[in-house]
Symmetry: C2
Subunit: 221 residues, 2 copies
């Protein structure tokens, strides 16, 4: 099946899904969407008006990073792929999902969401909230990041990957949201610790490198 993903190049939730699709080796066409335009055709696909949305031919759209992550596990199962981004065991799943939400919600609210929101405003017309970025919010995002980097450090000092001994959705979520900081702002690791080495490892994966092609895929349709 050929998949389509409606996304925005600097949306961290879209980036998370792109990493997951790439890790699962699922070729996907990217379709860019400027969510603030609230286009009617797009709202028909996802009434919540948010990206990412995964389109699978002949099927209802799959909206949102967490829902797409669960959907991929549901359809791929554990058998079809040696790479299980979500473990099979219920208790192991708790930690992967916990960290996935940590980045999708907490890190987004405190860091990556503030940065992307302020960047979007540069592209938005004034009547949709466009204008110059709010430097107070960008400063706030910068101040919040330290605690998260320290938390990652704590986790990867105990094991190779965020949620244990293998790569999971937790690593992809963290890397996707950090990639936004890296792209829009200045990601400064406090020191050459375990977290920095983990991020270098993530960055060298081909899934992560493919994020660079974002803008190339940003065609309106």
């Amino acid at each position: 099946m050929r998949l389509k993903l409606i996304h925005h190049p600097i949306c961290p939730h879209s980036r998370f899904v792109r990493l997951a699709l790439h890790e699962y080796n699922l070729a996907t066409d990217l379709i860019g969407e400027r969510v603030w335009e609230r286009r009617e055709e797009f709202l028909m696909l996802n009434p919540a008006g948010t990206v990412p949305v995964l389109l699978v031919e002949g099927q209802s759209p799959v909206p949102g990073a967490a829902i797409i992550a669960e959907y991929l596990v549901d359809v791929l199962g554990d058998k079809s792929n040696s790479l299980a981004l979500l473990p099979v065991e219920p208790i192991a799943r708790i930690e992967v999902r916990r960290l996935m939400y940590w980045f999708h919600e907490k890190f987004f609210d405190e860091v990556s969401g503030l940065l992307t929101e302020e960047r979007y405003r540069l592209f938005m017309p004034p009547d949709s909230g466009g204008g110059s970025p709010n430097h107070r919010l960008i400063r706030e995002a910068r101040e919040n990041i330290g605690a998260h980097l320290a938390y990652i450090d704590l986790l990867v000092e105990e094991h190779d990957w965020l949620a244990g001994d293998r790569l999971t959705y937790a690593d992809l979520a963290a890397a996707a949201h950090l990639s936004i900081v890296d792209h829009l702002d200045d990601l400064q690791w406090p020191e050459a610790g375990a977290a920095k080495r983990w991020f270098e490892r993530m960055r060298s994966r081909s899934s992560f490198r493919s994020l660079k092609e974002s803008w190339k895929g940003f065609v309106r349709r």
Copy 2:
């Protein structure tokens, strides 16, 4: 297994989990938590500092409404219970999860979160953000609710329950968040339509009626 749920009586995400546990017939002890106190013992259980958190003896804590919902499906499976709050079929799951997030995220941001936040402030000390409620935000929540009630109406005109022909997590999420409006403010249904009948049906379930015991269970430990 005897479960414990760390919750707050007017937290809609906690109420959703209480509905789910009750529907699954899982007896649970309630433990109240005032999250704004940021107690160290509580942050050890859930570093994100949010309720609900499900405690299962001898196991790591399960934090957050969505994670608890998935966890219950993972451990109960489809076999142990004739009531499947999440369907087995991957495509049917999309709609249930989509609506579950609709209420947990969108409705919370636009309505139930604003109302609970402003109510919490009455109990919070001034240095943690306590004070009198912000009436502008409460008015905003009231203005936002109409579109959501109309959306519910649209959904239950097509089928008995929000996501189809059976009760699912979607109904529990909607009912939990609406129960907050009902409890804290004045839930006014535009007319005696399908949505209102759906809510009356939800309200008469024993799981919903058990929400009233919230405060009784609100002991510090």
